[in-house]
Symmetry: C2
Subunit: 188 residues, 2 copies
DNA sequence: TAACTAGGTTGCGAGTTGCAACTGAAAACT
DNA sequence: AGTTTTCAGTTGCAACTCGCAACCTAGTTA
């Protein structure tokens, strides 16, 4: 179970609550998806999502406030306002796809999708959103371990790994995966 | 913009709403994370998350109802109940990590993490959760395209791609990424 | 038997959500 | 020019949800 004895007690300080502050609200992900789908205007979101006007107004304002969407008056029609994804918003794509792939995998209704999301290059369906090691290997729950920063690269066998070309990603404090449970589940 | 003229109007039928039905509720992801962290008992979640008792009770019941956690009476103490992740729950790991990586990247407070989530093999930090092509290439928003099922593999240059060993993943109906916007943003 | 613990449930006030109606400004029609 | 329509919001009100504290019940410990 890693080299930590106990699961950490202070889970508050990590990226998840920060993400949920915006995206945890009821319609945020649906609006985000609509944005990815190219919707830009208030009334489009309104009719598309079937959301209440005041809620939409409120949610859009919050998404803009958090820098996920940007709000720009339309040039050709000065009543219209364009809500467009920022880079920060685009960066939510993996999270959204992961969620929806999960929803699709386990959803009650097995929907036959009509337009398929494909790789532009070969026009073949994309694979699952995955957790990658620094060198690109795909990792499952059973491959994750928790360690203190000072022990990075200290392999179980005593040898030392050095980060190659891989881009390490820093995660939040309190980032513990229950390996015992994960491995037990994987073993079943 | 793919070979579809317009963004689809019926975005309802896809995996996302199904996922949000459970995980869209306020505390669901935090409870999930606590589960990944190895917490199993009611009072543990309670003190760890600082959530209200009734809400926790309600959320746990819903997570169990949706098959994300399973509820098992403890053998040694029949008052205690263990809430453990099911496979369906474990499958939410990419979504949770994607969300928290995003939160960490853009969060106001740059938290210095103490325990780092690493690859078990070499004990080096994991990379970002990524969207993969069927053959494992990492895809960004600008690499995504939308196509009708009957046109799968029809490349822009007219040649035809055939799925290799890659495992295609089926996404929900209405799965459209606004390529124009994504590419424009990527170009900036 | 009394006290304690684990996991809930109930009641109440505060905050959120959703519907419908209204506003105000810019465009379109007549 | 004057009326109507469209766009993006705001306001009022009913229903629901959240969080806190208190209470409840079964099993465990002293």
């Amino acid at each position: 179970m890693g080299d930590l004895r106990e699961p950490l007690r202070d889970l508050i300080e990590c990226g998840l609550p920060q993400a949920l502050e915006v995206m945890g609200e009821r319609w945020s992900f649906m609006i985000l998806r609509a944005s990815f789908n190219g919707l830009k205007h208030f009334e489009e979101f309104l009719t598309e999502l079937g959301i209440a006007r005041n809620i939409l107004s409120n949610r859009l304002a919050k998404l803009v406030e958090h820098g996920i969407l940007k709000r720009e008056p339309c040039a050709d029609d000065r009543r219209k306002i364009e809500y467009r994804l920022t880079e920060k918003g685009l960066d939510l794509l993996p999270a959204m796809l992961a969620l929806r792939q999960w929803g699709q995998k386990y959803g009650t209704e097995q929907v036959v999708e009509d337009p398929v999301l494909v790789d532009e290059l070969d026009r073949l369906p994309i694979g699952p959103v995955s957790i990658l090691a620094h060198d690109g290997r795909i990792l499952g729950p059973q491959d994750l371990w928790l360690t203190r920063p000072e022990n990075l690269g200290n392999r179980a066998d005593g040898t030392i790994a050095t980060p190659g070309a891989g881009q390490g990603v820093s995660l939040g404090r309190g980032d513990v995966v229950d390996l015992a449970a994960a491995k037990a589940a994987a073993a079943r």
